[in-house]
Symmetry: D2
Subunit: 149 residues, 4 copies
């Protein structure tokens, strides 16, 4: 069976277009998710500020941060393996919340720390726009479609 | 400082009223979250089916399952410690996705496996309405407000 | 390729004999590990008390509890899939330490909450001999050898 | 109550001397653990190769890697907060095994990504001596003794 990596590596813009065509409701319940950079087993994704993801006290909700982290891993996998890997599925995620972010755009920086035949493992760091301190950190395992790499 | 557990233990109905008054946007981006039972360091919470949480292929999104799990832990803490614990914050969560659920209401069954002075730890099992097999499993740590128990 | 589950299901005694023959150094650095029950996608394993696993203040070391949890998952997989699955490998584990156990035998109660073709996921509860309160809780993912189930 | 950080920051050599005096049996069951560098909320710790931590097939055991990761977080906390923090306790750890390391010394590179009043969170990367690819990755939460920082 040919590996799913047979496909060409899409750009950030191509991934954004793919998401809007295939997974438009990933944007539901929070601000819009936009891939800013992708490649070299890494990606950067922005989640735009939106009132729907703000909790009492003016902090960004944990589930919206989880969504950003999970989405950013999917993006890094697509960027490496191409759209043939679109059936990749989250197997597990551990997320640590380190600080309570003020309302702002949030940025995920993700890198793949393993890319095997069956599984990919990624490490994600979440930041608030314009702040140096990390807000949350996550590690995640995805199951790759048959072949993987 | 008096422990936060000084308050009376609220019922499921009282917790639902509190959430709708204080955290109404927890319902954003997925189906409505409703506490069905709470007490004895445990709770059951239902997330109603909603098109916004369905992904291509007809499966429930991972972030909506994370939200249900995280919310159910918060509910179990409120049910045990009262609304004085409303400042409890998620510190970490690990979630394992075990199967791809069909569109349906989802049910979280949560129990507190540690309730310390500073930290609570909970274990959550997620099910699809009417299905016996577990769909996802999570463990989570919350930081309790000063006092805790 | 035939699934690894083709083999007969070994008993607790057969698993103990297999471990002593193949993995004798799993007993290093802590008390002896003994399978007490195995079957129905679950197992119970005892780690005998031993001075080497006691830390200052008289508590059982975290790494020895990790070892007990990890080993018990392996045992549950062998009990279900037979020795053909002996190449199963730990992919990840999350462990939560809930209390500081006094020196005593420790018991792991494990059950498989997913047994897929590629991955098994297990939930483990650790207890001190004779105490009702859970001491630690873990979830773990194993990668199964080709075939799995 | 004075914060535990009131003490002076110990050097790597001082931490090694403290461990050998207070926690000598941390070296049980694997090769010797030696702090090579500590400071700036980070540390590097070496686990010397030893036959007791090698499993069939010639790979380093998961529990010995867990021990190295857990110990390295403790070292980074001592290096930052001083020996007044010696009662810091592991609350949770998630470890992802990325590759099967050959028998060799193993190196942990740890950094503290949160240092709060109650909790410290650390990220750990494990390598085999002389190999570029990461072998395992972990995140861990420690509960700090009263005061913390």
């Amino acid at each position: 069976m040919p590996p799913v990596s047979a496909g060409p590596r899409p750009s950030a813009a191509e991934i954004n277009a793919f998401i809007d065509a295939q997974f438009a409701n990933v944007h539901e319940g929070s601000g819009r998710l936009v891939v800013e950079a992708a490649g070299d087993r890494a990606a950067r994704v922005r989640m735009h500020q939106d009132a729907r993801m703000i909790r009492p006290g003016g902090t960004v909700s944990g589930p919206s941060m989880f969504k950003l982290a999970d989405f950013s891993v999917y993006v890094a996998i697509l960027a490496e393996l191409g759209f043939a890997a679109q059936q990749a599925l989250t197997s597990s995620m551990t997320i640590n919340f380190l600080a309570r972010p003020h309302p702002a755009d949030m940025i995920a920086e993700v890198r793949l720390i393993k890319l095997g035949r069956r599984l990919a493992v990624a490490e994600v760091q979440l930041y608030s726009e314009g702040e140096a301190a990390m807000v949350a950190q996550a590690t995640s395992t995805y199951v790759l479609p048959n072949g993987g790499r």
